[in-house]
């Protein structure tokens, strides 16, 4: 009996937590459900009462090359910038947690300060800077990535640092004592332990960049990201349904990824179970 008792949570506690989680999911998804509903509604504006079923928003989106290209661009920018941000955040987190360096507090203040700078100020500052040395920093996808990495670094650090703080150094030291090199230790011991945190950091950085408009709209050069397209077309409510359709397609895609991840986990589990 005592063995089956879970010290983390009682049965009732678990029920409460289940409900709380369900409430949060409802809270998070209610607006998305409405968007999905409105994307098939025969009205330019997202208002009740519903007027009739139509797929025209999706057809228009499918035919709108600029809009489609902007979604792809945003995905690319987000993927690249979050990869870089996670890498840089990882390096910083290792130092901040593990090493004693002179000026560490200054470094950590610098690393976290992008959290607080108003995006519009940073956007203008960046564009002014890039425009002074255009041959080094031609405006385009690369400059957006540079800006988005700045925004994401503090988030990746804030996610990774608590993970490192709880990581038992002795495990790594044991590996080193057993003859593993620094890199080998990292790859075989540290990395698997921090992988979940790395994935969290990547996701946060990705969504941050994917939806970012202010920096992007200043340093984009001739590149159009999805948020830029969205905000630029707000002059024309007739284009709104297409944009909502994009959101729904993105939603569907992430749902697919979610389901895929769950299936992958189960397959993996079964295989591991068989091995054991």
């Amino acid at each position: 009996m005592a063995q089956t008792m879970d010290i983390a949570v009682s049965k009732n506690g678990k029920r409460v937590l289940n409900v709380w989680f369900a409430v949060l999911v409802l809270f998070l998804y209610a607006p998305l459900g409405l968007l999905l509903l409105f994307s098939f509604n025969d009205n330019n504006l997202p208002v009740f009462p519903l007027k009739g079923f139509t797929t025209s928003a999706y057809e228009q989106f499918a035919a709108n090359a600029e809009l489609k290209a902007s979604v792809v661009t945003s995905a690319k920018v987000a993927a690249i910038s979050s990869l870089i941000a996670v890498l840089l955040g990882l390096l910083a987190a290792i130092v901040l947690v593990r090493r004693h360096v002179f000026g560490k507090s200054v470094a950590s203040a610098l690393l976290l300060s992008p959290l607080v700078v108003p995006y519009i100020a940073l956007a203008i500052g960046l564009l002014v800077f890039f425009s002074q040395v255009p041959e080094w920093f031609p405006l385009g996808m690369r400059t957006i990535v540079m800006g988005h990495v700045v925004l994401s670094i503090p988030y990746t650090i804030l996610i990774l640092v608590p993970r490192f703080e709880r990581l038992d150094v002795r495990i790594e030291e044991a590996a080193r004592d057993l003859g593993a090199g620094a890199f080998q230790t990292f790859r075989l011991i540290t990395l698997p332990l921090i992988l979940p945190a790395l994935v969290s950091a990547f996701i946060v950085a990705f969504v941050l960049s994917f939806d970012e408009i202010i920096i992007a709209s200043f340093v984009n050069g001739d590149i159009t990201t999805f948020p830029i397209y969205l905000f630029s077309q707000l002059r024309f409510p007739t284009l709104l349904p297409q944009v909502i359709a994009v959101a729904c397609v993105v939603m569907a895609a992430s749902a697919l990824i979610l389901v895929g991840a769950e299936i992958g986990r189960r397959i993996l589990e079964r295989r591991l179970g068989a091995e054991l």
């Binding site: 008792m5 010290i7 998305l32 610098l110 607080v116 640092v161 003859g179 979940p196 969290s200």
Partner: protein, 305 residues
């Protein structure tokens, strides 16, 4: 194999020395890329804005001379300073509620959900891929005078149809609510990360020593998750002070925040001088706050060994 064995056989002190000298270089190597990146793409633009705020750098044809006038005007208790304090309060409300709401979620994911935890984590993060603007648009449909909530109230007869609850939308309430909506999953992340990496045997040990669940939580889990909680608080409190978008879309005439003033100065007022003063003020105040947080973090570390 032989080499490895030899290395293991080396006397410990020598190895310790070697590792230390090695790590000095390595540390610099590790810290250089992120700090350099920020020095170039963050510090340089910020310094440009600082110069702008004292008129030492200006993109309009005309005089460039050092002046603190814009700073003086701002600090002389103009409308913007008041707005700043209001924003601090709103951010504080948002942060506290968001952290309190997110803690059980993180706890659930880390300690209860077991195998499904990453999928569930993805589940609560996935909505972020949908443009925030569009999600706010949907929120307006929920909160509006003929929105989902008010329609429900009409239907139950709790409110007459010509008497909607108007403070649901275009109010401070709407701003706080939607900000919580945005930040709860974000806030859950760092808490989750710290809980997830907690050694569960500590809890078992506590149980073996006769601790109740509540005691185990209070004496073990909560203190161990504190770094995550603080990170979570920073996650939401600091960016929301400068929040611009949410108040713009659901704040109405009274829900505006400091970030809106900054955006307006750079935007429709085309007054970059004021805009940079406001931005820099925000940066300074928050840097100060972070200093306080950092001190608290080190004290905690000393206290817990």
């Amino acid at each position: 194999m032989a080499v490895e064995a030899q290395e293991v056989a080396k006397p410990t002190p020598a190895k310790g020395v070697m590792r230390r000298s090695h790590s000095g270089l390595a540390t610099t190597g590790l810290l250089a890329p992120p700090t350099l990146w920020l020095a170039i793409f963050f510090l340089v633009p910020v310094v440009l804005i600082l110069l702008y705020s004292v008129n030492l750098f200006s993109l309009y044809p005309g005089g460039q001379y050092f002046t603190l006038d814009a700073w003086k005007d701002f600090l002389d208790g103009g409308p913007f300073l008041q707005l700043f304090w209001k924003s601090i309060w709103m951010s504080l409300a948002v942060s506290v509620i968001a952290v309190v709401a997110a803690y059980p979620i993180a706890y659930y994911l880390a300690l209860v959900a077991s195998k499904r935890k990453y999928v569930l984590l993805l589940l609560i993060l996935a909505p972020f891929l949908v443009s925030y603007f569009l999600r706010l648009l949907a929120w307006k449909v929920i909160l509006g005078d003929q929105g989902v909530i008010n329609s429900f109230l009409y239907w139950t007869g709790l409110r007459a149809e010509d008497d909607p609850v108007t403070w649901l939308l275009y109010s401070k309430f709407a701003v706080v609510l939607t900000l919580i909506y945005v930040y709860v999953p974000f806030v859950a992340l760092p808490i989750f990360a710290s809980l997830e990496s907690m050694d569960r045997r500590l809890l078992e040990a506590a149980a073996d020593l006769g601790a109740s669940r509540w005691q185990a939580f209070r004496k073990v889990t909560l203190p161990l998750s504190l770094p995550g909680v603080i990170a979570a608080f920073i996650f939401v409190f600091i960016p929301t002070i400068g929040e611009y978008f949410t108040p713009l879309l659901v704040g109405g005439v009274n829900g505006t925040m400091f970030g809106n003033a900054i955006a307006d100065q750079f935007g429709q007022s085309l007054n970059w001088l004021n805009g940079s003063v406001l931005s820099f003020f925000l940066l300074l105040v928050v840097a100060l706050l972070m200093g306080v947080f950092a001190r608290y973090l080190t004290i905690r570390r000393v206290a817990t060994g």
